[in-house]
Amino acid sequence: MNEAPEHGLHIVGPVATTPGAPPAATRPSRWVSVLADGSVVAYAGKVEFGQGIRTGFAIEVADELRVPLERVRVVLGDTALVPWDMGTFGSQSTARTGLQLRRAAATAREALLEMAADRLDLPADTLIARGGRIAPAGGGRGVAYEELVAGTEQERDVDDAALLTRADEFSIMGRDHARCDALERVTGRAIFAQDTVIDGMLFAAVLRAPSHGATLSALDVTAAERMPGVAAVVRDGDLVAALADTDEHAEAAAAALQATWDEAPATASTLDLPELLLRSARDAFVTQEAGALDDGFRTADAVLEGQYYVPYVSNAPMEPRAAVARWDGDRLTVWAGTQRPFGIRTELAQRFGLEEDAVRVIAPEIGGGFGSKSPYPAAHEAARLARVAGRPVRVAYSRLDEMQTATVRPAALFNVKSGFTNDGRIVAWQFDAYHAGDRPFLGRRGSETPYDITNARVTTYTCDSPLAAGSYRSLGGAANHFAREVHIDEIAEATGLDPVELRLRNLAHPRFRRVLERAAEAHGWRPAAAPSRRGAGVALGLDVGSYAATVVQASVRGGEARVERVTAALDCGLVVNPEGVRNQVEGSIVMGLGTALSEIVEFHGGRVLSNGFARYRVPRAADAPVVETVLVGDADTPSTGAGEPAIVPIAAAIANAVSDATGERQRELPINRHLR
């Protein structure tokens, strides 16, 4: 990695100046550099884990700076090189960081215009930036950026008032671009955490608890220490690992450890979970309240109640977590495929009593995560073992380690009660959501109804969770949407209305109406009372500020549902790279399809039974539907998230399509387990 100071023009600024911001966020750091070779470097604390953000940032900076896209290099996720960042989650990268990079690039453009005005002795307002040069608007060669910055080393503050390029003047943004880092991916040159190998490194195999909450009561290392290639068997508190010259020697030695575990008695298994959620519900939190429910139910022509359930599902990214740690005296460097390099840096500094500056966390390419790579114990394990061993250490999770220890999306149970008039106006809405786990923000996301209902109360609860519940694409948003949008379909059925029409009758928001209408139109939706027996399903949703609607064509054969065609409309405001957004929508659809049809994490007590791809059924190529994405956002509306919103309606749309095909209402996931 080249860390030599590079001469040029650097645009610097803090990430935040608000009171309470972490000190690292308030320190100015580089966002954009225009270098003496004419290249441009953009810096951001986000990580690339498949969402294509490196490409998105490059597009934004190139367009603001009027340089060809291939001239921009983007540096991500290395705490020594990039601005502080809380983490890559919540679909904030384009909405916030991308906007900051645009401001920085626009600042650089304006600085270059000033520099050129001096050089050419012309008024700045007679010059324009184009193709990496500043030239007189009326014509003439002008001067290249590299000539302007050659031999200089200057810093300018990000100018929040710098003029951003108007949507009708974009030449790179808003057009389709292939990923700027695709070449490394198709040639095998992209280096992921699992691929990171450094000089003098030992391979670790960590002794894993057989279940959540198990404690080690006895350990005999004698046999393990005698295994071939073993450098040491390390015990550091609750962390036990064999360190060896190869991965296989380490694993063989770890397998020879004689460990006795105390496991908590298994009080719950997969099938007990719905009842456990209800029984342990606490911390009622009202996320939405309007009118008076009793009045609403009294004035309703009909009242409908339903119960819905989604099990635990696993993020199951292709790359299991891995980290390499190296100590140089009291300085620590860790390569870790985490969504939170700065958060992990803080954790490591605290653990070892170091200044944050003494710790460097480098996130290489990351093989998926979808939320589960925010907690990153592998980084801690590698750092602890390297400290004891006095040599660099690699900790790489096996698939089994990954599935047993990673957090899962909370299972959730829903009781929904609605009151409506005969003409399909919903007048009362009572939505109680019981999400596993004690992290209430997971279950609150997306719990509010987007429909215009005079009397509504939405309440979320935290509940016991035998497995560690954590982040997932849209957090609990997709689960909340599943329950809500299936129930809405039941209202359509009860009133004999077409499911699209029923929704439109209760939706005032123009962006919601538009996204639904465009999805229905693009799909060729033909109105009919449900169930139509055609296998058609629809659902809509809102997540991270973006509006999504999905129409599904499904069929059922031999007790298995199959999704044939999906039309997904998304309004995420300004789209930086349509090809990138379509890719995220397609990915969200396929991931949500897995939760709808086949995915369930089975467990017994703290043991995960679905601990490999043979036992946890994610979608494969033959399961993937034809997906058509319709982007309906306005270019002058600020960008909102694109990586998550398309997942929130899909499971409900599939369930509604299957119900429409069979005439039997699907209220529980995964559907293929409940079809007869």
């Binding site: 884990f49 498949g50 969402q51 294509g52 292939a178 990923r179 880092d181 695709a182 070449l183 490394e184 991916r185 198709v186 040639t187 095998g188 040159r189 992209a190 280096i191 992921f192 699992q194 691929d195 190998v197 190869t246 991965d247 296989e248 199951a316 990214p317 292709m318 790359e319 299991p320 390419e365 990351i366 093989g367 998926g368 979808f370 790489a396 096996s398 698939r399 089994l400 090809e579 990138g580 890719n583 397609e586 990915g587 969200s588 659809i589 396929v590 991931m591 490999g612 791809f613 043979a614 994610v618 979608p619 494969r620 190529a621 033959a622 993937a624 539907p625 034809v626 997906v627």
Partner: protein, 155 residues
């Protein structure tokens, strides 16, 4: 001690019982071939042995010592990408990219035996590869596109 041919280079393997995937990644240093499941379920470790696809995580070095092994690093020729690699770029068929080498190697094996595959043949050939990012429709499109380009008369 066995000798192993990978991408035209001969490597010495002291232990014939060594896991082939570990050997490729850590002993030969070719980390383009990925570990993802270790059970032969996901295809991230797919390599070619004499043109046919093999899950490297399920093999030992000794089992393939007589064969010509090709990894993702060995399919570009003279600085030019293999048609399947180029088609994956053009179709934006890669997101996180961790599964990508395995998919490409499965596709290369398929096109070696079936130059113009049908949808069904492609899905069959990719049945043991998982893309958790869900780029499947782009991957299938890329394989078709590569097949079309490879079938064009050279010119």
């Amino acid at each position: 001690m066995v000798a192993l041919r990978i991408n035209g280079t001969t490597y010495e393997a002291p232990d014939p019982g060594r896991n082939l995937l570990s050997f490729i990644r850590f002993d030969a240093g070719l980390t383009g071939t990925k570990y993802a499941c270790g059970e032969g379920e996901c295809g991230a470790c797919t390599v070619l042995v004499d043109g046919g696809s093999l899950r490297a995580c399920q093999a030992t070095v000794g089992a393939v010592a007589d064969g010509e092994i090709t990894t993702i690093e060995g399919i570009a020729r003279g600085g030019e990408l293999h048609a399947v690699q180029q088609a994956f770029i053009d179709a934006s068929a890669t997101q996180c990219g961790y599964c990508t080498p395995g998919f490409i190697m499965s596709a290369v094996a398929l096109l070696g035996r079936q130059p113009r595959p049908t949808d069904e043949q492609i899905l069959d050939a990719l049945a043991l590869n998982i893309c958790r990012c869900g780029a499947y429709q782009r991957i299938v499109r890329a394989v078709h596109e590569a097949a079309a380009r490879m079938s064009e008369p050279a010119g």
